[in-house]
């Protein structure tokens, strides 16, 4: 038996960075009080989702990990509370910018993963802000299991989940910021969930996703070329078992903490007994990695 408890924090993000980090800390302390070993916060939880509009001054939000307020704050909190936490932040590296997570284990920075897949749509204008990640997928050996983290858009790609599982991930975590689609007017929530339930089912690993809630509005001014828009983030954060069944879920609008316990040894047995890793045929998959079959 190798039991761990993972908590997912869902929250609406205050306008002020300090208040946002304070709020995240309160909810993380609540999760720790519930017995969590691993706590997952949403993507870019220190600020409103600035990618809704294009403004050069938002580049100034990006900082290196050793200067980012949330990374610094949670380094201390994970040390105090013996937690494992991936902290999503806007990372500056000289003149390049990345959508990154800093992986923290009990006060130690295990490393950084930079979001591999960068979306771009009318009000999710991420290619303006982030270079595609250059770290490759990462799996960290933490005191509570081997953990792979994908960031938001990464969660749509079966390749991300498969690469991380092949690298040894026993748990997949996805910090997220996703909501309404004002142009195509769809509710992508069920599609979004099914995609990640599929990753859990196919890779036989538990999956957790943390999303934000609330409506964030943009009013037009010169520096955003007169854009007027709003996004409503749909929450619905969840945790699945290693067969993709949803164990715990948040609603679409509330700040919340959910928690599930897993026996990682049991999940490992399930992966072995089901035989899908034994029966892979890598030589047949060349088209996926851009090689000819």
């Amino acid at each position: 038996m190798n039991k761990i408890k993972i908590a997912v924090v869902q929250l609406g993000v205050p306008d002020e960075r300090d208040l946002a980090v304070d709020k995240a800390e309160r909810l993380v302390r609540k999760a720790a009080g519930m017995g969590a070993n691993i706590v997952l916060l949403p993507e870019l939880f220190q600020t409103p989702y600035f990618c809704q509009e294009r403004r050069y001054e938002h580049y100034e939000l990006a900082l290196s990990a050793d200067k980012d307020p949330a990374v610094l704050r949670f380094t201390e909190i994970t040390r105090e509370l013996s937690l494992v936490m991936p902290i999503s932040f806007y990372e500056r590296d000289v003149n390049s910018f990345y959508n990154s997570i800093a992986m923290l284990d009990s006060g130690e920075l295990l490393g950084i993963y930079r979001k591999t897949h960068i979306p771009d749509d009318h009000f999710y204008q991420e290619k303006f802000y982030f270079s595609p990640g250059d770290t490759g997928f990462k799996v960290w050996e933490t005191r509570f299991g081997k953990i792979g983290v994908g960031i938001c858009w990464d969660q749509w790609f079966p390749e991300s989940a498969r690469c991380m599982t092949l690298m040894g991930a026993e748990l997949l975590l996805y910090p997220t910021a996703i909501g309404s689609e004002p142009i195509i007017e769809c509710d992508s929530m069920p599609h979004w969930r099914r995609c990640m339930q599929g990753h859990a089912a196919a890779n036989i690993v538990p999956v957790a996703a943390a999303n934000r809630v609330g409506t964030e509005r943009i009013t037009p001014d010169d520096s955003n070329a007169g854009q007027s828009s709003e996004l409503t983030f749909y929450g619905s954060s969840f945790i699945t078992d290693c067969y993709g069944e949803i164990l715990e879920t948040c609603d679409r609008t509330s700040d919340d903490v959910i928690i599930s316990e897993f026996d990682l040894d049991k999940c490992r047995s399930a992966r072995q007994e089901w035989g899908v890793f034994r029966d892979r045929r890598p030589e047949m998959y060349g088209i996926i990695s851009g090689k000819n079959c």
Copy 2:
């Protein structure tokens, strides 16, 4: 608009091969009467699931496509009824044996796909009967769209679905024979479905799966080393839309025909607008195809 109708046939398989092909024909004619353009039958529907036990004489069931009774029968039926049908059969190629489908379009044999992933468990002893397929994944340009077919165990692999979609598949079809797990005693049905719903969701293509129903028993004798067992195939055949939502489903025990209509142009727009193919990073996926990242 580019509308097509796909039907899935679920059935219990009679002991006699001729009766099994007759029964399949009756249900296919019913599907055609409902307006189907594409009809999907379960895996190896000409015989009870012989892989439940090991018997050398079952190798004699394997035939080349030009001699297989079901391939021959449905060549005529697809010509008569202007149907597209992948016909699952046990294929002999000199001294090798494959779990194959023959892709038929209105009386024409478009080609053969040999199951890439071969399972092996106590009563699904397929590695005894089938070599791993050597054709690679296949996508056929039919008169009713570009169709990719995975065979049963292939459906558990996100790589199969992704390869076929990258090769241009607009629809994914999975003939199947899956049921109880007498040793691990799980009901894999929800896991099985979620896996394929995930393929639909991640690749933004409709998915259909046809399974058999009924309990098939093995009584011990010398040539099967005294095996006594039974498998209950759980049906639950289904069709999803291109977001992985289940549109039509069969129950766990009945012969049945289900049908759904799709506008393939609409699905293509959805794939384009969602942007996941635009944002892939093949250079990051090397581990999937056995190359170092």
